[in-house]
Amino acid sequence: MEVGMLPISASKRGKLLAAGYTTLDAIARASPTHLARDIDVSDSEASEILSLATKASSALERERPNGTHTAVVGGGQTAWDMLNEEKFSSCITTSCVDLDNILGGGIKCKEVTEIGGVPGIGKTQIGIQLAVNVQIPQEYGGLGGKAIYIDTEGSFMVERVLQIAEACIEDMAEYSHQFHKDFQACDVKVHPNNILENIFYFRVCSYTEQIALINYLDKFIMENKDVKIIIVDSVTFHFRQDFDDMALRTRLLSEMALKLMKLAKKFCLAIVMLNQVTTKYVEGSFQLTLALGNWSHSCTNRIILFWNGNERHAFIDKSPSLKSASAPYSVTTRGIRNSTSSSKRIKMM
C-alpha cells in the first residue's frame, strides 16, 4: 500500500484509506481543501500530507535515461561514481604495518569496523591508538581529525593515552627528521596535551544512555565537523545484562547499528566498535565467538584478535572487499606496533 510509505501518524493513514485515497497519485491530484474536507483534518495538516505525497511520488517516477548519470530511483548512486569516491576515501593507520596492509591501508572512513577479542588481547589499546592516530596531521599522511571515544566499561585509562600520544609525537619527529632535512621548520609543534584535548570522551553507564548518546551524536558532530572517528568500547556490554525481552534487544541493537552506519556515511568518518567474546556450544565443543553476534550484520568489517602461540594476531573475519587474512601485531609501551618476531609474513587463509 503506497499510502503506508508516508511518514504520518497511524490515525491519519487510517483516515486516508477510509476516504478512498489508496495511492500517492490520488493524494497528489487532490487539492488541500478537498483533502481536508474528505478526511476531516485542518487545512495546514492537509497541505502537509499533500507535500509529503508529492515528494514521495516524484521519487517513484521513472525518468527516461538520457545519457547522464541521473539515478533511475531517487537517492541511489551508480557503481562508477562510488568507485571514484572510494579511491579518495581515507584510512586511519593502526601504527602496525602488517595490520594496515591486511586492512587495505588502515581503518577506512565511511565504514563500520567491529573488533573483538578475549580480555587482555589489546582491543582498548587499538581503540586508543586509533583515537591518537586520527589526529596525525595531513603533512604526515594522517587525517588531522578529532576522535570521539565512547566508554561503556570504564576501561579508558588516561595514563595510557598520554603514553601513546607521546610516542606518536616522537615518531612524527623522527619521520620529519629523516625525510624533511631541508626544511627548518620541521619541528613537530604538537604537544601531547593537544592530542588529549582532541579526544572527546563520553562515559556511558546504561543502554539508555548509550542509545541517547548515539542519537545525540548527529547534532554533536554537526558542531564539531572535524571528528573523523568514533570508537565504542565496548558496544554490547550494557546490552548483555538485565534485558528480559530479547526481541526488543535485537531491535534496539539493529537500530543503533543503522544509526551509526548513517553517521559514518553522512560525515565520512570511521566507526570502530570493540566487542567482547563469549563461549558458544557448537558441534560438540565450546567455541569462542563475539558477543551478541547475531546482531552485527550491519558491520562492514569484522576483525577478530587472538593469540597464536606467543603472538597477537588479527584476523579479517568478515569484509566485503578485504581478503581473509591474518597479521601479527604487538602491544608495546609506545602503543600498537609491528610484531617483533622474525617471521612477519602475512598469512593468507
Binding site: 511518514p7 491519519k12 571515544y149 570522551y201 553507564c205 545525540y216 556490554f237 526488543l248
Partner: protein, 378 residues
Amino acid sequence: MANKLINQMGLPKSIANIFTARNVITAKDALSHTEFELMELLDVGKEEVTSAMAHVSEVVCPPCQTALLLLEQRVRNECMAGHLPTRLKGLDEALCGGIPFGVLTELVGPAGIGKTQFCLKLSLLASMPANCGGLDGRVIYIDVESKFRSKRLIEIGINSFPEIFLKKGMAQEMAGRILILRPTSLSEFAESLHQIKVSLLQQQVKLLIIDSMAALVLGERDCGASRQQALGWHVSFIKSLAEFSRIPVVLTNQVRSQIGDESRMYSFQAAQSRSIIKDNPATYDSHLVAALGINWAHAVTIRLVLEARSGQRFIKLAKSPISPALAFPFKITSSGMVLLDDDGVEMKGPEISTINCQGLSLSSLAVSSAEYFLTKNT
C-alpha cells in the same frame, strides 16, 4: 539519568502530554522503543517523533569531556594522579604510580598464596596519613570468608612503618579507620553496597576491598544464567561506585581447575587447528584458571595473578592497559608482601595469564614472626 521524567525535559506541552498518556513516563521507557514503534504507539508523524527523541536524547546523554580534562582533574585533585602506591617499587612503576582509582583491580591466585596479605597491607596504606604516603581515609573491607586478622594487620603495620605505628595511639587510629563487613549472601552484600554508596562521600572512604568475590558469588544456590546475571548486575554497580567516587576497588578471586585440556578457539581457528595452534608445553600439575568466567575477566580493568612456580611465588600483571606484561617474584614476610626483584621478568604471550601452583605448600608460608598463624579454612 535514565530515570528522568519526560515531562520535566522541556518538551513542547502537546507532545509531552502524548507521552504521558501512552505511559511512556521516563526517558528509559522512551529510548527502549525504536522510532517506528514510537510512531505507532504515540500516533504521531515521523518528524515529530524524531525531534522529540532528539531532545530527550540530548538531555539524557552523558556530558562530554576531553581526555585532557580528565588528566588535569586527576593530577590536580588526586594522590599520584589517581593511584594508591603499594610501596612495592617494581609494581608501582609498572602501574604508573600504584593501584588506579576508579577501576576494578582483581587479585587472583590459588589458596594461601598471599591475596589476603596484600589486601591487609593495602588497607593500612589507605588509612595512613598523607604525609606518610597514604590516602588518609577510611577503608571498607568486605570479608566474606572471615579471614581478616587484626593482629596480623597491626603486625604488618609495626614491621613496615615502625616510625608511625609505635607512636602512641596511632595503631588504634589506623585500625579504627578500617571497617569490616561480613555479608553472608549476595543479597546482603547488595544491601551493604547501597549503604556504602550513601556513605562514600560523607565518610571519606578511600578504598574498598572485597575478599573474596568468588566466595560471595559461588556460595549462592542458583546456578548458570541467573547467577551470571546477578554477577553482572553487582559488577556494574561496583564499577559505577568506583568511578563516581574515584576510589580504588580491589577484589580477590579464586581459581578452579580447567575443564578439559583444550584451549578455547574461534570457529576459523578450529578449521585449521593443525597448522595454527602450537601446543604449549603441558604443565600437568595444577592447570588452573580464574573463577567467575569470561564476562568477569572482561569487566575487571587490572588483573594481578599470583602464582607459584617451582616453589617461587610471582605476582604478574596479567591484564593491564597501562603496564607491560611483567612478573615479579615475591615472598610474604612479617611486613606483608615484599618483592624480591623490582625489575620483573617480561613475559611473552598468553603465559602472563596462566596460573600455576607448583611447589606451593602451607609450610612454605613460614615467616620470621612467631606470632603469625595462618589459618586457612579451605
